[in-house]
Symmetry: C5
Subunit: 89 residues, 5 copies
């Protein structure tokens, strides 16, 4: 899974009908110190995440497991909200 921060939200009226009712957030990878890195993805929120929160998100086919099984074409899902990030040092 990826460490990320929710940096935005997407709305889309025209979309696959199995995505209707999903909350689509934009998450960007972060490093252990919380700084942003990499490129943002659109992830379906399954845990009530909000803008600015640090989250855990799953990518690829396993992301679909986080949703009710509707056959939705989903490759990224937020599955946790980070409380603490403890680093090596």
């Amino acid at each position: 899974m990826q460490l990320g921060q929710v940096i935005g939200r997407v709305t889309a009226t025209r979309k696959d009908e199995r995505l209707v009712g999903t909350k689509l957030l934009v998450a960007q990878p972060i490093r252990l110190d919380g700084s942003l890195t990499g490129e943002p993805v659109i992830a379906v929120d399954t845990v009530g995440a909000g803008i600015g929160e640090r989250v855990i998100y799953v990518m690829g086919s396993m992301a679909a497991r986080a949703l009710p099984e509707t056959g939705a074409p989903v490759d990224a899902a937020i599955v946790g909200i980070i409380d603490t990030l403890d680093s090596l040092n």
Copy 2:
């Protein structure tokens, strides 16, 4: 899923027969501010997207879910057209 913009279209006469009749668009990742980034992919359009539109596309095996189940070898599909992109700030 990825934030992208449709930047082109591909035609291919010789192709896997299960791709016949699909619309193959070229989508390039974009950032929250709409600027282009990363490398383009070829994605099957399932929502009537047009050149220049900002879209949501799915990658990997989940992309095949966006199409009628024909067993087509597809790893990217456009599944939504973005209305608004709201950022953190």
Copy 3:
């Protein structure tokens, strides 16, 4: 899927027996203007592609769909030969 150009061919005598008889080409990603980018992959040819041709290739588990179902361990397959690439501008 990826936009690519066939830049080489691989021969391998010792290989998984389910790959025997496959044509293994080296494809490198290209941009819309046809220039090479990224890193090459080895893809099974399923459409009769030749050296120098611009092609569409699928990556990941969906690539296996392009082949007869033999259970071959394949993660990239050429599924189309590009006739035209129309860009935004």
Copy 4:
């Protein structure tokens, strides 16, 4: 699989219920000489790894195989602890 070093740990109270009870570690890719590279991922520990240890981790849908089959949305799992890394030279 990836060569990595465990560099941190994540706690998340609000998460997918199938992740409850899993140990979520942060692993960063390493090179053969042990130096850190690339971007960290969150991986479920299945072998009792600790902070600072060099590990083998699996990514993508195959990572879920390392866990008891609960349908958990998991795309990275630590499946081994490296004893020795022998290089070419």
Copy 5:
């Protein structure tokens, strides 16, 4: 699949029990001219590859197909040893 060179070997006493008995090699991507590029991965050897050899390796869930079906959590496997690499020019 990827073009790679075997650059090392990993031993791990503590590991997923379904990995016991597998040979874990470190493969690094190469370009058509044989020069090293990208980041190394740990791949299960299924064809008797040795240190220094140029190989074909599969990544993702398809890699598991290269092994006997034990449900092992594997996302990379060496499936061929390259005899010749013919390039465009």
